[in-house]
Symmetry: C2
Subunit: 200 residues, 2 copies
């Protein structure tokens, strides 16, 4: 993953704990559920990026970065949907994501804290997704799925770093401290949730 080498200082600012080792076997035991959830994760990632354009249109760098990121995520929706078609698996409804909801609850309401927190929460979700897609990539039996998941994991690391770099630009003095804080809170959120065959 070249991105890590390119920007070591960025990823280091968001030290996420390793996933519980029980997650991977649970996920592998119900790949249909994982893919169905994953399709919606990619869709929601695109929607989150577009929602930032709506909120901060005057920030030209953010608008361009988020449009590009949404462009990536929509390609991932196509790719996951094609994978599911190959497996003869229909998609299913999205019944919400209490992991993301718990993180969104940590977003402060007032600007400029609100922008910083939104960027860092999205960075956190991308970072966690990257870790888990990478775990799947290392364990899946089907070579095409493995290759797809490895490429998606790399993309999510890049996305995490885009969010972190926008966070750094938005709040140069406070972003590192808040990133570390949110990484610790994310560990608490994970610890209180049941482990299931979903990306988060």
């Amino acid at each position: 993953m070249d991105e890590i080498t390119d920007a070591p200082q960025l990823g280091d600012a968001l030290p996420l704990v390793a996933s519980d080792p029980r997650w991977l076997p649970i996920a592998l035991a119900d790949l249909d559920a994982v893919h169905a959830d994953h399709l919606h994760c990619e869709r929601k990632a695109a929607q989150s990026a577009l929602s930032l354009i709506r909120s901060y249109p005057e920030r030209t760098d953010l608008v361009t970065a988020m449009a590009r990121l949404a462009h990536d995520e929509t390609r991932h929706v196509v790719q996951v949907s094609q994978l599911m078609t190959r497996r003869g698996q229909p998609a299913s409804y999205d019944f919400g994501d209490d992991y993301a909801a718990a993180l969104r609850d940590l977003i402060r309401k007032q600007e400029p804290e609100r922008l910083l927190d939104r960027l860092l929460v999205f960075a956190t979700i991308e970072g966690r997704s990257a870790e888990r897609l990478g775990l799947l990539a290392g364990a899946l039996e089907d070579p095409k799925s493995r290759e797809l998941y490895a490429s998606l994991a790399t993309a999510e690391v890049r996305h995490r770093d885009i969010f972190l770099s926008l966070a750094r630009d938005a709040s140069p003095a406070t972003w590192r401290e808040r990133a570390a804080e949110l990484a610790a809170r994310e560990a608490e959120v994970l610890a209180t949730r049941a482990i299931s065959a979903r990306i988060h």
Copy 2:
């Protein structure tokens, strides 16, 4: 526009009236406002496509088509944002779109009519966008802008046809009649609105 030749029967099902001839000079007189509005139109088109994936995940053809369409629209957001940067123009807030809201009010609440109407309303918005982006393409002085707008107009014709073909697949017996009805209602919506320097 090859798409028209490829699928003449589809576009014919949605006979939109020509725009009021006063629109183009008003739009050309305030291109900053047009571009600022256009950026949000492209963003909302991507969001609408993603919202259909959320609502109808079990329709594999729709999921793949909408993910691809959102992928296109997010590229358009990048392109319009780059055009605005070239012009030294910041983006502005989106204060809503009463044209799209008036069309969305025509969407019936119960399935299967709801799906048909959502597809046809999105087809209508794409068709109207295609017409107006084409008018701009024919009148803009800057060659790069002209080229961009011509390519966007072509893309919106293709998108209109994607929505129409999904509508046809969803309700083979009734889609044509409803498309004609919505085209007529759209003409009424346009007639009651002030003409302004916006895409719709």
